[in-house]
Amino acid sequence: MSCCCSLLAWALLTLLGLGAARENPNCCGPIVPRREWRALASECHQSLKSPMRYVVVSHTVGSPCDTPASCLKQVHNVQSYHMRNLGWCDVGYNFLIGEDGLVYEGRGWNRQGAHAGSAWNPKSIGISFMGNYTERAPPLRALRAAQSLLACGVARGALTPNYEVKGHRDVQDTLSPGDRLYEIIQTWPHYRD
């Protein structure tokens, strides 16, 4: 009898554990925060209305980086290009992905990016792979980092559970995110052209 009871309790607890895991907003992979890559202070004020339905994937076409130290520098370069040369209020992307397999926080989940044009920016999260992916694909660790970032977005309620991934070239006249990376994101379960 008590054996039966404890079995039941085990089953129940396992189920509850699974249920709780899905709802917890803190279950995200590591995201390198802005202060860690020594970001310039953001001057952006436009916020996003979560949850977002779209994710736009691009590439920076700048130099790639495959160590945390070089990626830190590279994110900093991208931000300084966007702010100092283009006069934007912050780095344009919501998140940047390095070939070191880390996600770097750009404008984050709540602020509108500048990555996909005036109509798409308010409706999407922009993630950009640092490098040029016309001739070669990003390493698997970078792709995994991007996928887990998106899963994290759903868990936090920043993305809708049925969010759609688009390539930058699907929404603007550009070659971004590069042929090789574009081929890869087209196989992702959430990709819709």
Partner: protein, 268 residues
Amino acid sequence: MRKARLRGLLWMLFVSGKQRKRCELRETAPLSFFPKRGKLFFTEPTSDSPLTELQVAAEEKRTLKEGQTLSLDCVYTKKYSYSQKAWQRVTDGGKVETLAITNRTSRKSSQEPGGRYFLEDDSVSSAVRVRMTNVQVSDSGRYQCVIYLPHSDPEILSSVHLVVTKGSSATPVPGKTATQNRAQIPTHPPTTTEAQNKFHTSPRIVTQGPPKSTAGVSPPGLGVNPTNMTYITRTFVFSIVVPVVCGLLSKSLVFTVLFAVTQKSFEP
């Protein structure tokens, strides 16, 4: 023996709590655990039912006052750059009425005098800009942006639930509203054949009514006033109240079961 079992249970409880921290690993595996768990515990939209998907993800609510202008962007992807786009009203019965459609060459909807619906296809931004001027209470309802496809059903880009409330907007134009109303009344009687459907036909009457330069009167940017309040409270409910309630319920359930089990195992 009993003690061991009890210890096992407590350990399980500990593990079930710990498990929350490990979810990102499981979620990287696409389409495995994820949809199932959603179904088990929460009645969330599941990706296999297109209707709920559409309502939850794409339907946006806009609340405007009479006389204001509804303006919004419907985004699309490049493969639809050269397709015709339309703005439609969806009646409660599910019937669809096309209010405006873009022209293939000019990429705009033809604007008849006095018309209130205006579409402009901006292929650089990949979006259709929709404007609906001088909204009336009878305009409240569901609308959608669609892509006209040559050989299949139209593709719905996004839908909007419009609520128009009585009372003038920030810049009332009483004279104009009066002519608007007067213009609307005489056109009503001839449409008696559609009387059973008069709620849904009224916007069409307004478009086809006699020329009345109201379109130029209400300033385009001024009328837009989407209220996000209901949206915010909804996200509040979903992101805070639901998890808290679920957590409390699950915890109390666990402790009840544990209590029962311990009682049972310590019985002589």
